[in-house]
Each structure stands twice: as C-alpha cells, then as structure tokens.
C-alpha cells in the first residue's frame, strides 16, 4: 500500500480536488461547480475521486483543505492541514515550476498576485473590496453575449481589432460593453476587448506597484481563457505559462502541505454517505449579534465559529 494525500480547494464558484502520491504525482483529480453548497460539492467531488483512485494501491493518509470554505470542509473531512489559498497556490505552483517569479491568479470571485524569489513568497496582494475582472464577471458577460464561457477565449483570439472597454469597475465595464454592442462592434472584438480590460483592471489594482518578472505562471479558472492569457502576454511583454492543471494548483498545494506536515490520519471516502448540516444562530448576548455557525454530523454538533468574544462561545459536543 502506498501513501496518498488529498487536497481540496473549495472556492466560491468551483470546488477542486486532487490526490497525490509521495512524488507529488496526481493520481486523481476533479473540478466541479460549488453551486453555493460547499458540503454537497465536496461529497460529489469525493465520490468522483474515489472512483478514479486505485484503492488497492493507495491509501489517503492526510487531507488538506483550502479556499474560502476551507474551515467548514476541514471540519467535515477531519483535515490535518487547513490553509489559506494564497499560501496553497504558492506551494502548488512552486512544486510544478520551482523557478517561477510571478503568479497571476484569477478565480471566480477573487484575484491575487504572488511574487516569488528563490521559491519563497516575498510579496502578494489580493483584491479587497471589488470583484471586478474575475471569473464570475466574465461568465455573466459571456452569458449576456450568448457565448459559452468555454468558447470565450477562442473567440477573443479571432479578433483583429479589440474594442476598447472601460476597465475601472464591473459596472462601468458592463455598461460600456452594452453600448459598444449596440452601436455595432463585432462580438469577437468586444470579447477580446473584455479580456484586455480584465487584464488592465488586474494589473492596475491587484498588481499595482508590484514588479512583475518572468517566469510568469497564470492560473485559476480564468487562466483557461486564451484571450486573457494573450492579453497578459501583450501587457507584460513576457510569455505567460498556463499549466494544464493550473485550475487545480490550490488543491495540489494544500495536498503537498498535508504531505509535508507529516501528521497522518487515515481517510476513507465514506463521508459522502454521512449527513452534515450547518445552522446559523444569532448570538444575541450583546448588540453585535455575532452570527454563529454550528456544524453538525448526523445531529451531533462537531464545531462552531463566528463568535467575536467568549460570551458567544459554543462548546463542542466532542473534544
């Protein structure tokens, strides 16, 4: 029996999972939509990974979770490592490209830039208040233009004269786009223009003041969009690497971290059949009314969080 490590990255839009072996080689992988239900998505993810993995040969001995639902899924899967997605992405990328200097990452709701020197993260930034120019925006605009989001990038590449689209924020970009379409700009030009505006928004906000050096690796769901990749190459003047597994880098990174942690806890895929529920409760013990989330496994409280002070602490039923 060989040891294997499971990494799960549960983002707002998509849920990713990989199982790796001792040599960081991917033995099972899956990418699916979160659909606003992280627990449900992870159950589906696990049943697919289970089918892919040769269980005669591999035993998962540690689980790592990352992404915005990392805490919740960490509790559900009894993960040994629960890590933020910035670190997870950096680790995942450097495990594939040790020489990397700059990571561009655009996901469903957020985008980040990570600068690396000698395999160490030296600086990073992440969008704060505004989610303009992320995957969710692109897919809503693809829908508006009647184009599948998967076709988006290919169409952009056919444009000879990208339309100028405002990049300041989603709302401006959207109204600009609508106006340009109504006065007769070609669809492929608008799409190419949109890809350019996503890139200029990214470089002006997240990338502001950061020294971008090659090799550059571009990842996250949006990296699958060839139009955006090309716009990045044009804007930076450097080639941009997109790994075939680029959308799985966060999951890969946290699997690597789970391996490195040396903490082991055998994992069986059977949680797919266990009932997990969450329940929100307003604390009510002061006017802050912290929203406390309680997580139950088959009616048994397994964890709770969200309280800002001790007054709102809910004791775990199990230690």
């Amino acid at each position: 029996m060989n040891k294997a490590y499971l990494g799960i990255d549960i983002g707002s839009i998509s849920t990713k999972g990989v199982v790796i072996d001792e040599n960081n080689e991917i033995k099972a992988k899956e990418y699916l939509w979160t659909e606003g239900n992280p627990i449900g998505a992870v159950k589906r993810l696990l049943s697919i990974l289970k089918d892919q993995l040769d269980q005669e040969q591999y035993q998962v001995v540690a689980v790592g979770t990352t992404g915005s639902a990392r805490k919740l899924i960490g509790v559900v899967t009894e993960a040994t490592v629960v890590k933020n997605e910035i670190t997870a992405h950096a680790i995942g990328t450097t495990s594939l490209y040790p020489e990397v200097r700059t990571i561009f990452e655009i996901g469903g709701q957020d985008s980040k830039i990570i600068l690396i020197e000698n395999g160490i993260v030296v600086d990073y930034a992440m969008n704060t208040l505004c989610a303009a120019g992320t995957g969710a925006f692109l897919s809503s605009q693809a829908h508006r233009l009647g184009v599948g989001v998967e076709e988006f990038g290919k169409l952009a590449l056919t444009s000879k004269k990208p339309t100028q689209i405002a990049a300041r924020c989603t709302v401006f970009a959207e109204s600009d786009l609508v106006h340009k379409a109504q006065i007769g700009h070609k669809k492929e030009d608008i799409i190419a223009g949109l890809c350019k505006s996503v890139v200029s928004n990214y470089l002006n906000n997240v990338g502001k003041g950061k020294k971008i050096l090659p090799p550059i690796v571009f990842q996250g769901g949006v990296s699958k969009n060839e139009g955006v990749k090309k716009a990045f190459e044009y804007a930076t003047g450097y080639p941009v690497i997109v790994d075939p597994n680029g959308h799985l880098t966060g999951a890969l990174g946290v699997a690597v971290l789970a391996k490195k942690s040396k903490v082991e806890k055998e994992f069986t895929f059977d949680i797919a059949s266990i009932e997990f529920t969450t329940q929100g409760a307003e604390c009510g013990k002061c006017s802050n009314n912290c929203e406390i989330i309680c997580v139950y496994r088959e009616d048994e409280l397994i964890d709770a969080w969200g309280n800002k002070c001790e007054k709102g602490a809910i004791k775990k039923a199990i230690a």
Binding site: E85, V122, M126, S287
Partner: protein, 353 residues
C-alpha cells in the same frame, strides 16, 4: 435642559479620560458611548451618504446609540481631512432624523492651543468653572498617555503571554480604576500599581520573534472593531505588534518637523491628515528590520491613498512586504483572515529562509 448628558464618539479606550474630563472638569454627566458593534455600523451606514468614509458611518451610528443611551449633548472633534466637515454633516443628519440634541463641534479648536477649547467647553456647559477644568485637564491628558503607554506594551507582549487572558484582565482593571481617578497623585499611584502588574505577567518571547508594524488612517487604525480586531489576530499568531499611532504620539506630542526631514527622500510635500505619519513610521519599521508592515485605512481615504505609492517605494528599497487593507462597511472576517494568514506564512517563510 435640566441636565447636560454629554457624549463623544467611541474610539479605542479614550472614553475613560473623556469621562473624567467631562464629569470633573465640565460638571456634566458623561454618557459612555456604547461599544462599536455591527449595529453601530448598520445604523451609521443607513443614514450616511454611501461614499463617505467608514469612520463617519461609525461615529454617526455611535451618536445615535449614545442618544438612545440618554445623551442630549453630542461633541464632535475636528480633523485635518474631510473629518473637519463631519461635525456639520452629523448635526444636519441628526436634525433631519428628528433628534433634538445639542451639538458642539470642536472642529475649530486647536489641540496645540488648549485655550481655544474654552469657548466650546462653555457651549457644552455655560456654568463651567475654569478652575475645575484647569485642575482636571492635565490629569486627563496624562491619563491618555498612560493608557497609550500600557496599550503599546500590551500589543508587543500579548501574543506571548503564558496564561491566556492575563493582559486583558489587567488592562480592564486598569481602565476601571482610572475611571475613579480625580487627582494627579491618584493617577500616578494607579499607574505604578498596574504598571507593576503588567510587568509581572509572564511572557515567553522567542529569541527573534516576528515583528509587524501597523500604519494608516487615524480612526481605522485605532478603533479595533473597524479593523476587524487585526492586532488581536496578529498577536494570536505570535507576532510582536507595533503601532506608533495613538492620541499621545499624534496629538499631544505631535512631531513638528522632524518627520518631514526623515522622509524627505520619499515625500517632499505634505499630503495631509495621517499620510506623513504613515510614511515616517513605515520607514522607521523598515529601517528597524521589521518583518512586515500592514497599512490600514477606510475606503476612499485620500491622504492614505496618496501615501500608498510611497509605501511601495519603501517596500522595494528595504525589501519589506506591505499588506494593504481598505475597510468600508463589510463585516465578514473570512477574507481578512485569509490575507492575514497568508501574510503570516509569507513573513515566516522569509524569516526561515
């Protein structure tokens, strides 16, 4: 009005010296503003112009909460940015909402010239005794400095306390006892007594701990709720947290020209409000070899936005990472935690390297 029940918006723990000053010096009842909570922000946002900065939303919300708690006289301070106009705006909004309270706007008084406050104090209570103010004012000002000194020590040590909660408990007792203080002698005694307790708390600070300096805009940096209790989060990760910004340093012992001299390679002209302090202190943290700097501000705070490119230059020159936070009325912590955790991982990995 039968009795003056006065209040001033909540900022950190400065309600303690304010209470002493108002009750003893001005002879009015002081309504301690309720702590800032989600509700404060909710009310404040509801009645504020949307694009106004978050500190306005917090203070407006807090004014309404103090009125609900019984205040009939509200005092607002001035400032060297948009804050200078906020008093008028607060007053107008509260009037439009139908609150019948007196509003005293200190915007025109100058902290460097204490006598300019007299006319405004007179507005708060026309029967005030100058003698009493003259007696209590130095006590209140000294109290501010002691509180700031304590909190500075706590920020640097709380992440390493052997017994969880020791610092918080001494801090709370100290503040509670300060509220009873009326003379310089009592103040000194309390200060020494609790100073001793503070030093007695056992801490285990590693040889070369991670050190992070916080810089940024006046309100957001000092009101813990508005920065999502960032200092506490950092301390819990085992980080020495340093921040220069407080009332003592920025108002009572305001650096006059030295800071401009120190940062002349980075910024020639004053960009207003707290921007020069931000640059000066970021440079100091960088020179001292801190592991990272965190810049906090409310969204849309222009002086601090102007300081950001300068911080980027400092970051490049001294190879020190700077994490930027811009807060408005969001109350979810998850995004902030993600960024702080990643920041911790980064400075940790840099150090180990």
């Amino acid at each position: 009005m039968a009795k003056y029940k006065v209040s001033f918006p909540q900022l950190g723990n400065y309600y303690v010296p304010l209470e002493v000053l108002f009750t003893e010096g001005l002879g009015v009842e002081y309504i301690i503003p309720p702590p800032i909570t989600k509700r404060t922000l909710e009310i404040g946002s509801r009645y504020s112009p949307d694009s106004v900065c978050a500190p306005f939303k917090y203070t407006l919300g807090n004014f309404i909460e103090t009125i609900e708690a019984g205040a009939n006289t509200l005092v607002q301070a001035g400032g060297v940015c948009r804050l200078g106009y906020y008093g008028e705006l607060d007053e107008q909004i509260l009037r439009d909402l139908g609150y019948e309270v007196r509003f005293v706007n200190l915007a025109k008084a100058q902290i460097s010239k204490p006598y300019t406050f007299y006319n405004y104090f007179k507005e708060i209570n026309p029967d005030l005794s100058l003698n009493k103010i003259a007696q209590i004012l130095p006590v209140a000002l000294q109290m501010v400095q002691y509180i700031d000194e304590f909190e500075d020590y706590i920020r640097k040590n709380i992440g390493f306390e052997e017994e969880q909660g020791s610092f918080t408990s001494v801090h709370q007792d100290f503040l509670a006892e300060l509220r009873q203080v009326r003379t310089k002698q009592e103040l000194k005694k309390t200060y020494h007594k609790y100073g001793k307790y503070l030093k007695e708390i056992k801490v285990q600070i590693p040889q070369n701990p991670l050190r992070v300096g916080i810089v940024g805009e006046y309100y957001t940096i000092m009101e813990p709720f508005s920065n999502h209790y960032m200092e506490k989060e950092l301390a819990q990760m085992g980080i020495v947290v340093d921040r220069w910004m407080n009332v003592t340093n920025s108002l009572l012992h305001r650096p006059q020209k030295k800071d401009k001299e120190r940062i002349k390679h980075y910024a020639k002209y004053n960009m207003g409000a707290t921007s020069m302090f931000t640059i000066d202190k970021a440079l100091e943290f960088a020179k001292k070899g801190y592991d990272g700097i965190i810049h906090v501000k409310s969204s849309g705070c222009t002086p601090e936005i102007d300081a950001m490119p300068v911080l980027q230059n400092i970051s490049a020159d001294y190879k020190i990472p700077v994490l930027y936070f811009s807060f408005d009325s969001q109350t979810s912590d998850i995004g902030i935690q993600t960024r702080l955790e990643a920041f911790y991982d980064m400075i940790m990995m840099r150090k180990e390297n």
